[in-house]
Symmetry: C2
Amino acid sequence: MMHNTLSVGDVARRSGVAVSTLHYYEEKGLIQSLRTQGNQRRYHRSILRRVAIIRIAKQAGISLRIIKSHLEKFPTREVSPSDWQQMSSEWRAMLNKRILSLTQLRDKLDSCIGCGCLSLRDCPLRNPEDRLGEEGPGARILEEEKQN
Amino acid sequence: MMHNTLSVGDVARRSGVAVSTLHYYEEKGLIQSLRTQGNQRRYHRSILRRVAIIRIAKQAGISLRIIKSHLEKFPTREVSPSDWQQMSSEWRAMLNKRILSLTQLRDKLDSCIGCGCLSLRDCPLRNPEDRLGEEGPGARILEEEKQN
DNA sequence: TATTGACCTCAATTATACATGAGGTTTTAG
DNA sequence: CTAAAACCTCATGTATAATTGAGGTCAATA
């Protein structure tokens, strides 16, 4: 180790994600590595910031596919503070949308808790047109572009 | 059709969920059906309320497994207004937790957007101990019991 | 009655985000 | 130098929530 580069194990320890996850992120194109003559991965220190960004975005409910599309703007180059500012404010907006959806749903729940009106066809909770962000596998929320 | 019971197609149309999804819910034990002599599903009108509840809970980010555990209290019996009140207030609490998590994350994002501090080891966003609800497949949030 | 639309079961596929294990190679420490 | 720790690839598995398709049956209508 040393020499200014990090092995997968190093990155795993310092970033808190599993080695298998780093492999997976690489396979999915979210991160990149150099290889030693023996084919082992070596990373630049800037990988730590990149991984941190991925984790934060994930916490915000953003899918890896979307995260990737944002990170693609700087595949190799280090993510600068202003890059980070741009990304994080976009994500902030997504987070806000999501929070708003959930809050609205909660408020509707509130308005229906007392009345048991679930059987009425005009109950705000049963209105199919009025779908709030669907959740579940593949987080269909917070998706912008539908490609690949 | 008619005779006070509904076919899968009827339920699908009136609830807005696909026939295949109704089959799936039945297989998972969230709903039940009677069969005609020809083996076709027939539902009581109360199925519509039940399905509505499932959809609402899903919107709130609650997994089918948890939803099932709540619905199991009344497998056949119609869900009464007071049943609904109890469930919905529990879900409200879960929703609130989730909203709180996301809001905190957003606030941290806010506090970091200006500083580009992602490289500092004391950045609130990089603190691994301080994990907010993880998302992703299998919605690991909002889970109470970890069985089956 | 015949035909079409609706329904049935069961298996396989899709999508997301990884974890696990087998079988083998590379590095590093002593 | 050697043994253990770390690493490699590739395949398979896990969990959730469905969707799709094949092959066949049932029911309502013209």
